[in-house]
């Protein structure tokens, strides 16, 4: 039996008509699997490759270029929380904010809380600079996350 569910396979196959080459579906396929399964396992890479007429090495090569995708040894928690550390946020306390999250969640950047609820990451510029220091919850920005808002945000995501 296939490792990826029929639903995921159908979602991936639906992208094929959009592009003149099947390889172009690599990123969409990785996103679909990664979102649903919180990592892209070797088995998933093999099946994506098969659907797109590629070798697993090609998919793996592309995937690892983008540090965005997790392999099976480090899956994501339920929510991925990104803290911006680039200049506009850095000037308004972004680095310190990241440290605060590390302390409160007892994880290093890249790590996931013991209960599997939150994966903490640093981000390069999120493009939310009018709301510095900014964070991102999965793919949505939160503006002006000052130190006193940290507890409330953690509570919301836990």
């Amino acid at each position: 039996m296939a490792y990826l569910s029929e639903d995921l396979r159908q979602q991936i196959l639906a992208y094929i008509p959009r592009y003149p080459s099947k390889q172009a579906v690599t990123l969409p396929a990785l996103h679909i699997v990664h979102d649903a399964m919180r990592c892209v396992s070797h088995e998933a890479i093999r099946e994506i490759a098969e659907m797109l007429d590629l070798s697993p090495a090609q998919v793996h090569d592309t995937m690892t270029f983008y540090q965005f995708f997790r392999e099976e040894n480090a899956p994501l928690g339920q929510t991925r929380l990104w803290v911006c550390r680039s200049l506009a946020c850095g000037l308004r306390g972004g680095d310190a904010l990241l440290e605060t999250f590390c302390e409160k969640l007892h994880v290093e950047p890249g790590g996931t809380t013991k209960d599997g609820k939150i994966t903490l990451e640093f981000a390069e510029c999120l493009g939310a600079c009018e709301g510095a220091p900014a964070v991102m919850v999965n793919d949505e920005h939160r503006h002006c996350v000052t130190a006193e808002k940290v507890d409330a945000l953690i509570g919301e995501l836990s």
């Binding site: 270029f65 200049l87 000037l91 510029c125 939310a128 600079c129």
Partner: protein, 442 residues
């Protein structure tokens, strides 16, 4: 100066409904209707060329001229790649356009595709813009349902598919050939040029790459005409035969140590000082500015004394900056250490270098490590000379790299050493910052 009436932010400032009916009620898709009914693709290109519109993505290349580089009478397909990767630090204007007025952008995409005979437009959208992604998709769905996308748009001999393609957190995929490689499902490694995308781009076919704000401008250029567009901004410098002028409105982003960080629309050519004082609410906490980065971090640095520089396509170059860039100004106040600012910038480039070219991969990492050492009080007297040399030897300009990321990585370092040398020397000598406590310290 009389008050400028916003063009690109007009509906956004008015908090207008972003969806199709409301956009149309405000005159939306008038340009598309006009182009499809009354103009040939060549005429659309001519109007855009005559308007003097230059690319807003950073390089400032004349938009209509770029479109003429496509091969004539090509059997197709021709592709439009819309650059919505917007990852230059401190820049967020593309996001605002896509989140709040997606149809203004999509109308520009339709017009550019009609002009260039592109049959598919891929919008390469950075992953971090989830709201923009969903709003753009909803707007695209509305267009398909209303015969404004798909086959035979408005009953004419023009068909277009628009697809959103999400990135995965890599800055380099904003470089146009890195974008194309990434779109094709590969590592986002920029290509050696030539061939330029217009000749051989996405899927080895002729391709135009344009920025979101550029395309939003196209919408208004076609609706209101080239002459109107030229009433905004700065005409070419008569003493500089190579200057194509700086026409049209521009979305300026202001962030960092100002009271009211924001994105504001003004005619090209506003000075940094006006931006900071009038639109950014002045420097925060009653302090003075020490300097700023004037157009995203890749364009270098300005001192406070240089704040009267106009932000048009020529201004920043006159004070040693790389260019207008994304016109995103980030101010740092008098208490901020230049070492901290530089470290933050160098850390970004070391993280984002794609690693293809040795001078960029090693140089960006080396500069970051040296600044980290200086930051921690371990600086040496000769460090500034080494930093300057590294910064000057990586990039397209010295001819050592494939893409411009490395030029952008070197520029702030070169500028800082040229413009803030006494402070840097003092920091190295003392082994720490000698000014007041820092916001960025930790």
């Amino acid at each position: 100066m009389p008050d400028f009436e916003p063009v690109l932010l007009k509906r956004i400032n008015a908090k207008a409904n972003p969806w199709l009916d409301a956009y149309r009620a405000d005159g939306g898709y008038r340009g598309v209707t006009k182009a499809l009914n009354e103009m040939t693709p060549a005429q659309v290109i001519d109007v855009v060329k005559n308007s003097g519109l230059r690319g807003r993505g950073g390089a400032g290349f004349p938009c209509g001229v770029k479109w003429t580089f496509l091969p004539k009478d090509h059997p197709g397909p021709i592709y439009l790649c819309v650059n919505a990767d917007e990852s230059e630090p401190c820049t967020f204007n593309n996001r605002i356009l896509m989140e709040h007025d997606p149809h203004q952008v999509l109308e520009g995409i339709l017009l550019a595709s009609y002009a260039t005979k592109a049959s598919v437009a891929y919008v390469y959208l950075r992953y971090e813009y989830g709201v923009a992604y969903r709003n753009m998709q909803k707007a695209i769905d509305e267009l398909y349902a209303n015969n404004l996308l798909g086959k035979n748009i408005l009953g004419k001999d023009f068909s277009l598919e628009v697809y959103l393609h999400r990135g995965a957190g890599a800055y380099i995929c904003g470089e146009e050939t890195g974008l194309i490689e990434s779109l094709e499902g590969k590592r986002g490694w920029p290509r050696i040029k030539p061939p330029f995308p217009a000749v051989e781009g996405a899927f080895r076919k002729p391709t135009v790459v344009n920025n979101i704000e550029t395309l939003a401008c196209v919408t208004h250029v076609i609706d209101r005409g080239a002459d109107w567009f030229k009433t905004i901004g700065i005409p070419p410098d008569p003493k500089n035969p190579r200057d194509a002028g700086s026409y049209g409105p521009k979305l300026y982003c202001i962030s960092g140590h100002v009271n009211t960080p924001c994105c504001v629309e003004l005619p090209l050519g506003i000075t940094v000082r006006e931006l900071v004082d009038r639109h950014g609410g002045g420097v925060w906490k009653g302090r003075k500015a020490k300097g700023c980065i004037p157009g995203g971090i890749s364009m270098g640095m300005m001192t406070e004394a240089e704040f009267d520089t106009p932000l048009d396509f020529n201004g920043p170059g006159k004070v040693g900056c790389l260019g207008l860039g994304t016109a995103a100004v980030t101010v740092f106040d008098e208490t901020t250490s230049i070492v901290d600012v530089l470290y933050n910038i160098c850390r970004f480039f070391a993280h984002e270098s794609c690693g293809q070219c040795t001078p960029c991969r090693e140089g960006t990492g080396w500069m970051m490590k040296m600044l980290d050492r200086i930051r921690h009080g371990q600086g040496r007297k000769e460090d500034l000379e080494i930093l300057d040399e590294v910064a000057k030897s990586i990039g397209i300009m010295p001819g050592t790299t494939i893409c411009g990321l490395a030029d952008g990585a070197g520029w702030p370092v070169k500028n800082a050493i040229a413009k803030f040398r006494p402070e840097l020397e003092e920091y190295i000598r003392a082994g720490q910052k000698t000014t007041v406590a820092l916001e960025m310290a930790h």
